[in-house]
């Protein structure tokens, strides 16, 4: 994209008007095809956001026709005083951080194992990636009914073999269940990124380490792990972006249990999930978007500094 203007700069000294027009034309010839997409993006992302801000300044109780009225910032006093919202925010943090940490550790382990040649490597790799390809709703339902159910679940059948009492996982330990299923889904993602990192590792360096008498553990700690750091950070960042939005697992696996309710589920419940208070739900939404922008900016700055670091 920058190629054209920079060429223009370099040839700027000639100050040939015709040439400039030509360059400008060329620039537009490249930009014009992108415009429809840009306009579309603005229409479907920015416009709704502006409307949401407008809604958040009003009282709008959908089930009470005629309730729409301007209330200023009063909707914004609620999110900070609401203990249920704070609880949901805490659960969001636990879900994201828990899943990313455990997923990264497991992903690194699996990637290290997969990085060596063995019979059936392709099959094993495909099987390991599969959980990531399953729709979250389907995964939640299968886990809830086939694996974690107290009466019919596979996990409880395994427990019964060793004589343990059945555990009602999804109701007794809702947050842990949600994190477990998300780890199951997101470990393959972490594994893929870290595997890419491992395969980009230079064989010469590893060989040099071996010649110098470093043990396998020493090589891993001093050479492989530092090499993998940017990949892990990238995986953690991307994983966090998607895990913040987790809804399906909280709704379908934990049934919206108060022990696992996160921010997306909370806002759903304030709006079409039964609350039907669109003004107030919009205010919660705006607060979350602002918080996310701040966090995402910090994270993006981190990632770009990592890239410059190279």
């Amino acid at each position: 994209m920058n190629a054209v203007p920079s060429t223009a700069d370099r040839t700027g000294e000639t100050t040939d008007a015709l040439r400039r027009t030509l360059v400008r034309k060329q620039g537009w010839a490249r930009r014009a095809p992108l415009l429809p997409a840009l306009v579309f993006t603005v229409l479907v992302t920015q416009l709704p956001f502006v409307i949401t801000i407008w809604y958040s300044l009003n009282r709008w109780d959908f089930l009470k026709p005629g309730s729409f009225s301007f209330t200023g910032l009063s909707n914004y006093t609620k999110p900070f005083a609401d203990p249920f919202f704070r609880e949901a925010a805490l659960h969001t943090v636990v879900i994201v951080v828990g899943t990313v940490l455990i997923g990264t550790v497991l992903g690194t382990t699996l990637a290290t194992l997969l990085d060596r040649k063995f019979l059936g490597q392709g099959v094993v790799r495909t099987l390991l990636i599969t959980p990531f390809l399953i729709m979250p709703v389907a995964a939640s339902l299968v886990w809830r009914h086939a694996f974690l159910d107290a009466t019919y679940g596979f996990v409880n059948w395994l427990l019964s073999l060793v004589g343990a009492e059945p555990v009602a996982f999804t109701t007794r330990h809702p947050l842990a269940s949600v994190v477990a299923v998300l780890v199951w889904q997101w470990t393959p993602f972490m594994m893929l990124i870290i595997l890419a990192g491992l395969q980009g590792q230079s064989g010469e360096v590893l060989e040099a380490a071996r010649v110098d008498g470093a043990s396998a553990l020493q090589t891993f700690r001093s050479i492989t792990l530092p090499h993998l750091r940017p990949y892990m950070e990238l995986g953690a960042l991307l994983g966090s972006i998607y895990l913040i939005q987790t809804f399906d697992t909280v709704d379908q696996l934990a049934g919206g249990s108060p022990g696992a309710r996160n921010i997306p589920y909370f806002i759903y419940q304030r709006s079409i999930g039964g609350g039907w208070k669109f003004g107030q739900a919009s205010a919660y939404g705006v607060v979350v978007v602002i918080a996310t922008i701040v966090i995402a900016n910090l994270a993006l700055r981190l990632i770009s500094s990592l890239l410059e670091d190279q």
Binding site: T171, A208, H227, Q245, G255, G275
Partner: protein, 499 residues
């Protein structure tokens, strides 16, 4: 740090580009998966049964005095009705509604030429879709399925058309035959906003064979104390004494527990003098006693993982002989007694257990309503009147489920059909008795805010409060918090709606 600098010169570029490449590729992959995620929730429950359009042979162009505002469709000449047109109907996805999807093309569409597009959704999604569409005036559905909680409220909001004129004018429809309590629950201020497809109360179902073996007798109108004692006696290592709903949701745990709260003399809110919502009454008096009793009964003799169980889970436990008693909707009896049920004929029934009131059974109906925005009112009423007619009930009996599986509880005449009484001797008369006894106007011992309702409170705030509260109470049943903690949180939630 050191090992990194070892290979710095030749590695840096490849690594950067590898990271960038991985970033690009994976963010694409991840965003594809992310957007996939939202879709199944929206689309999977939708099954569309499109009835074939067959030219109408007998189109009795009975110009039904269509309800409410005059729309152009109403005045169109019969020729337009002859080609039938099509209507879109939002329904709940349960077995009884699968039957009507099967029966529509060869019967309704054949005689009227009207094509019916069914949009079948689970209860929660149906509620979201219908409320959104009807409340915003979108003409997305010509007919929607709602219950007695929504009908009078939506009607009062001006979202639904009054069906009384059409139903009165249609003599074949026999309006007077609808069970009065059900019709009343679907009406408000002298206007009828929905017609019942089927209706239910709640009662106690139990295994007669097991009760006899254990020497337990249950009277026809038991008290909760008697039921609790019986449940403890019937409980064995691999069989629950009683199955009760514990799953969050105002229509799940909220319904069962709501009737217990009523009969314990509790209430969600006091009513102000003008009928508005008064002080919340959740963590005190009858509500607290009722919940403590309910949770204790589940702990002593309930099903495993009760916090996860509702109608479908309890039904399965009963069919698998893993529960001896079950307090739930009267329609369940039709399924337990159906020809292919493993426990057919082993059951007996009793009225909803009580404590301080005379009757405690709930009242619910899945009913058809016409949104105010419906253009095709004539075709919509033809469909609604067919689906809720006496003839449809007879038609439903021709399906494999037989007479026991017909849509019950909507019409008094159903309970005079000899074939039905013969097929359902154990539960049909008691169902009618329960329907008639349901204390719709005065469910507890105190005055309620809002419109009439037994297992719910007829105010718009209830679905939110009911759902969030039952999530707290369900967590207490699961054991992740104490009863008092849950009741106190629930009190706070309910108090937000007080005025």
């Amino acid at each position: 740090m050191k090992p990194r600098s070892l290979d710095r010169p030749h590695r840096s570029r490849t690594r950067t580009s590898a990271v960038l490449g991985a970033f690009a590729a994976l963010s694409l992959l991840a965003s594809a998966c992310g957007s996939d995620a939202a879709e199944p929730a929206d689309t999977t429950p939708v099954t569309e049964a499109v009835a074939e359009t067959t030219p109408a042979e007998t189109t009795p162009a009975e110009t039904t005095p269509a309800p409410a505002e005059t729309t152009p469709a109403e005045t169109t000449p019969p020729a337009a009705a002859a080609d039938g047109g099509s209507i879109t109907v939002a329904i709940v996805d349960n077995p009884t509604m699968k039957d009507i999807q099967t029966l529509t093309p060869d019967n309704f569409t054949k005689t009227t030429g009207i094509k019916v597009n069914y949009v079948s959704l689970n209860e929660q999604t149906l509620r979201e879709q219908v409320t959104k569409s009807v409340g915003s005036g979108a003409a997305q559905y010509d007919v929607v399925m709602i219950g007695p909680y929504e009908a009078p409220q939506f009607g009062a909001n001006g979202w639904l058309q009054d069906l009384l004129p059409a139903a009165t004018a249609d003599t074949a429809y026999d309006l007077a035959d609808l069970i009065p309590a059900v019709k009343g629950a679907l009406s408000n201020n002298g206007k009828m906003y929905a017609v019942p497809f089927y209706a239910e109360s709640s009662f106690l179902m139990y295994r007669k064979d097991l009760a006899d073996a254990a020497g337990v007798t249950i009277p026809e109108a038991p008290t909760w104390d008697e039921v609790a004692a019986a449940a403890k006696k019937l409980k064995t290592a691999d069989m629950a004494g009683i199955c009760l709903r514990g799953k969050p949701g105002w229509g799940d745990l909220g319904a069962s527990l709501g009737t217990v709260v009523n009969t314990y003399g509790g209430t969600w809110w006091e009513a102000n003098a003008d009928g508005s919502i008064g002080k919340a009454q959740v963590n005190t008096g009858g509500f607290k006693d009722a919940f403590n009793f309910y949770a204790q009964l589940l702990k002593d003799a309930g099903e495993p993982d009760a916090a996860n169980a509702s109608f479908n889970e309890c039904l399965k436990l009963m069919q698998d002989s893993k529960a001896a008693m079950w307090y739930d909707a009267t329609v369940a009896a039709g399924i337990l007694e159906s020809a292919d049920s493993p426990i057919k004929g082993k059951l007996a029934y009793a009225l909803a257990p009580t404590k301080e009131t005379k009757a405690s059974g709930w009242l619910w109906s899945w009913a058809l309503a016409m949104p105010a925005g419906t253009k095709n009112t004539d075709a919509a009423w033809k469909f609604m009147s067919w689906a809720t007619s006496k003839d449809y009930i007879k038609l439903a009996a021709t399906l494999p489920g037989g007479w026991a599986g017909i849509p019950p509880g909507s019409r008094t005449s159903t309970y005079a059909i000899p074939e039905y009484l013969a097929a359902a001797p154990a539960f049909a008369p008691l169902t009618l008795k329960a329907m008639l006894a349901a204390p719709i106007d005065n469910p507890g011992t105190t005055k309620r805010p809002g419109l009439p309702g037994v297992q719910y409170v007829g105010v718009p705030e209830f679905q939110d409060v009911g759902t969030r509260c039952t999530q707290e109470l369900s967590a207490a049943i699961a054991g992740t918090q104490s009863n008092d903690e849950a009741l106190n949180k629930c009190q706070d939630i309910a108090a937000e709606a007080s005025s």
